[in-house]
Symmetry: C2
Subunit: 427 residues, 2 copies
Amino acid sequence: MAQFFNVLPPDEARAQWLAQITHRTGDTPDPGALERAAAAQDVILAGTIPSPEDLPAFCRSAVDGYAVRAVDTFGASDSQPAYLTVTGEARMGEVVTATIEPGQAYLIHTGAMIPAGADAVVMVENTQPAVEQEVEVLRRVAPGENVLQIGEDVRQGAPALPDGTLIRPQDIGALLALGLGGEQHPIPIRQKPRLALFSTGDELVPPDQTPGPGQIRDINSTTISAMAARHGARPDRQGIIRDDPEALSMAMRIALAPPDAADLVVVTAGSSVSARDMTADVINGLVEHFGGPGVLVHGVAIKPGKPTILAVIGGKAVLGLPGNPVSAMVAFWLFGIPALFHTMGAPMPFRPRMQAVLTANIPSSAGREDYVPVALAEEGETITATPIFGKSNLIFTLVRAGGLAKVPLNTTGLQAGDTVSVYSFPG
Amino acid sequence: MAQFFNVLPPDEARAQWLAQITHRTGDTPDPGALERAAAAQDVILAGTIPSPEDLPAFCRSAVDGYAVRAVDTFGASDSQPAYLTVTGEARMGEVVTATIEPGQAYLIHTGAMIPAGADAVVMVENTQPAVEQEVEVLRRVAPGENVLQIGEDVRQGAPALPDGTLIRPQDIGALLALGLGGEQHPIPIRQKPRLALFSTGDELVPPDQTPGPGQIRDINSTTISAMAARHGARPDRQGIIRDDPEALSMAMRIALAPPDAADLVVVTAGSSVSARDMTADVINGLVEHFGGPGVLVHGVAIKPGKPTILAVIGGKAVLGLPGNPVSAMVAFWLFGIPALFHTMGAPMPFRPRMQAVLTANIPSSAGREDYVPVALAEEGETITATPIFGKSNLIFTLVRAGGLAKVPLNTTGLQAGDTVSVYSFPG
């Protein structure tokens, strides 16, 4: 029932996993959604929003100047100005009822309504006051020049924002400009995915307790939930579970049970072979009750993070992370965050990657993708990346890092002076 | 009293402005700070945090294998294994009291305590079971190999996190690993800067009202506060103010008055010359009451955003933004966000920039920095950037964009095929 693959490349492993995870399709019109987005929460649109009106709704001037009939300015130059009669002034926010006849101009402020008859605006810099009520136009304008046309930003009925949009400040602005998002026109949004998080390990104590000899504080629950919260999830930290298959199985059954079943279950396990095998066995034991396919991938060709487990139980994503805090964060970044977007039916946002020049060699092995913490610096237009020294399970290697340098799959390492892709971490 | 400069380059304008803005130095120990950081809020550390203990606190194994005295493995190979006597097993979370004598080994799990006497761990892959209670070691280990030493992550008393740190998930992990951040050991954090926001313009109506002819909805208040909220500020939207110097002056006096004076006052004005001049005059009128120097910069060599006003009133930052929504967002990104970090005494985080290949020409003028909305795509390892067509005051140019391409100050434009720096926007 469960399929095992041996250390797949990460892109292939992720694609196989996501393909089997169901995603939410329901939508909830939510009058508070835009305010939450404005308060820096991640909000995802459910369904494409058509524009209810033309934007702008009227012809507006893009500059300070004179609204004119473009034809009246043809041939105008410094030496041969066109002389036009100024018949009035259009201020912002005012209804302009005048009509511009041949030979006339209308003083206009940026953003004000273009009078009827006018089809262009001459910038004030290209004019000169003449006798009273007259202006000299020193440069010709083309029809439409410096005019924002009705619907030039977006036309009524055109798609304003696509399904699955992660709402950024400019998207908030676009929705508000169209009168959308408030009480009267709430926008439909995806419910936040619920992330259930378990830390397993007999050596763990909660972070607010003092560890005894041989024990350490559990930090993975909090680092992973902090990463998930930054991407619109509802993290639900379930605490520490002893290395006991029965206890873990029971906890996961509760997390996956309706009505508020987790969309993604994350188990951080010890990094020992026995701890990893226990997690995989417990996951496969849930197939009978919830449906499969169970564990799809047990081991990925990445460093750190090789012992990652990718599983699907009844269409829900289950992710087994290595217990070491750096591996857990890197593997969650590579697999957990894309899974959160997938469960919301939203495209994974583009991850900015910088091109940086390495200041020291990075050894690697072909057939493995490495993510190496680096410190970043700017030297003029060049960004330099200096690998952070330290074993891969030390959390302070990430604390001291400005990003992660990627050593591609089929590279045996990179040399000082090579250009390397660096990702902000965790972004 | 006030100094005027004509269209400075943006980096120079920003530096002159920030140099005159006071920043918060007080700190507040806050037991809820780490949980807020975990809930994706921006939290900034006030003061350097020294590590209260060694991390790790005991010697731990980095792998599954056998704890040994390294000297006992010298010369070991596949053909000439070293035979060691296995005297016990160290599990995670257990106190290990055994001492390893010459010729002995101890089965050990990843993360478990290294027994006394042992100074290295042989990975299980490099061993082979021999007769009962014996293991064949097939490869030599160096002293310290596969062992996490006491204090290897961070030493007691060493600075764990520097003053002004914007707390990321890995920083949360580091603090928790050291027992910091909870009720018993709250961390000192900077108070969030307060941002007072005014929109001026006779053409504006609140976004939930239907604009009449010649009117538009005010979106700048919300887009700017959404950007500020993403960087740890407390945005305080004060609504729309008519184009009336008295009304604007009164509103700004209230915003700047103790005890909860705004750290940054933002006024989005119309883009017309008269609206900009009114804002500058009102700002300079406040100098008498609050202290100067008033308007420092009126116009910056950027597009969009040229009419930006940078001012300081009594040590507080005042920023006049152009009224057009794209210019307002770009100028707030270039000036407002660095000012927020400055008021918190925190270094401005590194802004990731991608190197992308342009698919079309971008015209520009030397002496001006342009930020052009672009759509991003990946073609193999190459990122391509396609300029978004449209006038610079259309909000949908930003909606359709994945980032902003920067045309440097001393460039007359870029050609299709050129490499260009692209920033995520607003990041």
